[in-house]
């Protein structure tokens, strides 16, 4: 009973405090901010080819010819910052019904490439920060819905439970991949490649684990304003060539990357992969 009284007192205190909090909140102004992820290979746009297609659209700096059938990544924990202390942090919540703050960007699905941030405090902004992948705090929430639902397109690793942060698949002229029939209609075609960058564990007493999640901060090089009538857009470029060239890929022996250690050399490139193409200030009504 003593405990319960204590709880009651605490509750009352909490009520008072919480009400006071509400009254104090001054009416703030908000706007939206749009982030567009434009996927490229070098300077070129991407045409997704069928698996096994021998139309090689691209060539690495070491002369490896390849095409892409899939390119995508998770973007999460977006924050915006401004020169006068402006700060916006996208709300994060992984639950069975939704995955707020997690975005699964997929080349060729334009809705996924356009991220609209709502309720951004009015002000001036010149910097964006985001993570590529789903960090520990998200994974450890347990089963989640939305873009984290493994039965609805989420990129989930079963055996080493967690999400793939960045993936590239396609066909390369020199790929060492041989044809594999997995049975039940599943097969892997000759000369294809799949590079899946995953691994999120960062256990203090186990340095063996590889955390391949990278946090990217990009400066706009200028400022944009957010307000009730001001909805700017940041056009970012994701250059897949930098992932392959930076890791000096040799498709003859690197064509099937499905574990954190093998993904590490590619993950190390991610900070160079993203850049700001331009930002533009536009008024409301922009979509």
């Amino acid at each position: 009973m003593k405990n319960i009284n204590l709880l009651a007192m605490l509750s009352l205190l909490a009520i008072l405090w919480s009400c006071g909090d509400d009254d104090d909140a001054k009416p703030a102004e908000f706007g939206t901010f749009q982030v567009y992820f434009d996927n490229k290979v070098g300077a070129d746009d991407i045409t997704r080819r069928d698996n096994g297609s021998t139309e090689y659209d691209f060539e690495t700096s070491t002369g490896e010819k390849f095409n892409l059938s899939l390119l995508g990544y998770y973007v999460s924990k977006i924050t915006l910052e401004g020169p006068n202390g402006e700060y916006f942090q996208d709300e994060m919540k992984a639950s069975a019904s939704e995955a707020k703050g997690y975005y699964h960007v997929l080349e060729g699905e334009s809705a996924s490439q356009n991220i609209k941030l709502e309720q951004v405090p009015a002000g001036t902004y010149n910097k964006i920060t985001f993570a590529i992948g789903v960090e520990e705090d998200g994974v450890l929430e347990g089963a989640a819905g939305g873009v984290l639902d493994p039965a609805d397109g989420a990129w989930f690793w079963n055996w080493n439970a967690g999400y793939i942060g960045f993936a590239l698949e396609g066909t390369a002229e020199n790929s060492g991949q041989e044809y594999v029939d997995w049975g039940g209609g599943r097969e892997t075609l000759e000369n294809t490649f799949a590079i899946h960058i995953g691994g999120w564990k960062d256990v203090a007493d186990n340095e063996n684990f590889i955390n391949n999640i990278k946090t990217i901060t990009l400066d706009f090089g200028t400022t944009v304003k957010v307000g009730p009538d001001l909805s700017p857009l940041a056009h970012l470029v994701t250059d897949a060539m930098k992932v392959l060239d930076g890791a000096a890929i040799d498709f003859s022996n690197t064509f099937s990357v499905h574990a954190p250690k093998a993904g590490k050399p590619f993950a190390e490139q991610l900070p160079q992969v993203f850049s700001v193409h331009h930002v533009h200030q536009s008024t409301s009504g922009h979509d």
Binding site: S11, S18, D22, V139, E141, N158, W159
Partner: protein, 348 residues
């Protein structure tokens, strides 16, 4: 947003106050769907705040656990490999598990008990949340050989499940996270803390002299690894079963040679019921296990240093009498209430 949540919390507390006071007076029957941490256990690790246990959710999870609809050809349910009479371990007839088309797995199905207190699952610890465990069972080609996508489709087309999910979670459409939450509600509730050992710890009920002698020996020789009230420190170790590793165990997850051949230290609760033993089902009896510790270990670069003295493999030396009393002690960890608990029984 934050202050809104705060308010709900407060309302919650106030409601709880009223409810809790009236509860005190009425001495109402125990809620069998409430998760209760046994007094001597560590704190639960399961994320109950994301998935609070309800009667509807638990019963739905139970139905799924016993339903072969989760497998490709509707031939295998979770219960095929996890049977209540064996503390939800597999039958000794299946030393390593048997899935659809009688495909043979590589590991022994462990018992399911006290899962809400564990941080990592499987012999290699590859799965880091209880919710994600069934995905492996469903999609493994040596277990249920089905896809999660298809299971969700089958459930949505079923004539009972959509209504049951709506009742449990208020959803119109079944999605995988709700299915996984339902199964976790059932498995997280599998708490085994009603053994004679527990009654000794909690209520001081006496154990026999032999069992007490076994406990002393166990504390000295085994509890370095099989420690605490769950009888495991949940580390990954090599206890000398093999000198080469077809199954890399923990090494598969950490991708580190120093972890090749290491497996999770298993809890020994209900061990009397969970034969055969070890990840590869090497031993049929507890006697064989103790003979292994006493003189059967093989050396390898990752053999636990506790079992070595310099270059010499020493294992754990035990007299025949000591072995008998350790086994008598292990048998005090058998929880007859757990294997007879009606709420875990299939009612279809």
């Amino acid at each position: 947003m934050i202050s809104k949540t705060k308010k709900y919390l407060v309302y919650g507390w106030v409601l709880f106050l009223f409810w809790s006071c009236s509860d005190d007076d009425a001495a109402s029957p125990k809620d069998i769907y409430a998760f209760e941490k046994p007094a001597h256990f560590p704190d639960a690790t399961y994320t109950f705040e994301n998935n609070p246990i309800t009667k509807e959710g638990f019963e739905l999870g139970k139905k799924l656990f016993f339903d072969p609809i989760l497998s490709r050809d509707k031939s295998v349910s979770c219960n095929n490999c996890h049977q209540q009479s064996r503390a939800f371990a597999d039958s000794p007839l299946h030393p390593t598990s048997i899935g659809v088309d009688n495909r043979v797995g590589i590991r022994n199905a462990p018992p399911l008990a006290n899962l809400a207190f564990m941080q990592e699952f499987f012999w290699d610890g590859g799965v880091t949340h209880l919710d994600f465990v069934p995905i492996n069972a469903i999609e493994s080609d040596v277990e249920m050989d089905e896809t999660l996508v298809n299971v969700v489709k089958k459930l949505n087309e079923h004539d009972e499940y959509p209504l049951l999910f709506e009742k449990a979670f208020g959803v119109k459409e079944i999605t995988s996270p709700f299915m996984l939450h339902a199964i976790s509600q059932f498995t997280a509730m599998m708490v085994s803390a009603g053994s004679r050992y527990d009654k000794y710890v909690l209520e001081g009920t006496a154990l026999s002299n032999e069992e007490m002698a076994g406990m002393k020996l166990f504390e000295k020789k085994c509890a370095t690894c099989h420690s605490g009230e769950l009888f495991s420190d949940f580390s990954y170790r090599n206890n000398g079963l093999n000198d080469s590793f077809g199954d890399l165990g923990r090494g598969r997850i950490t991708e580190d040679e120093a972890d090749h051949g290491k497996f999770r230290v298993p809890s020994l609760r209900n061990a009397e019921l969970t034969a055969p033993y070890m990840h590869n089902a090497r031993f049929l009896t507890l006697e064989e296990v103790l003979d292994h510790y006493d003189g059967g270990m093989v050396d390898s670069p990752t053999l636990d240093p506790l079992f070595k003295d310099g270059d010499q493999v020493v294992g754990i030396s035990l007299t025949t009498e000591e072995k008998t009393s350790i086994i008598a002690f292990i048998k005090t960890l058998t929880d007859r209430d757990f294997i007879a608990e009606p709420k875990f029984r299939n009612n279809d």
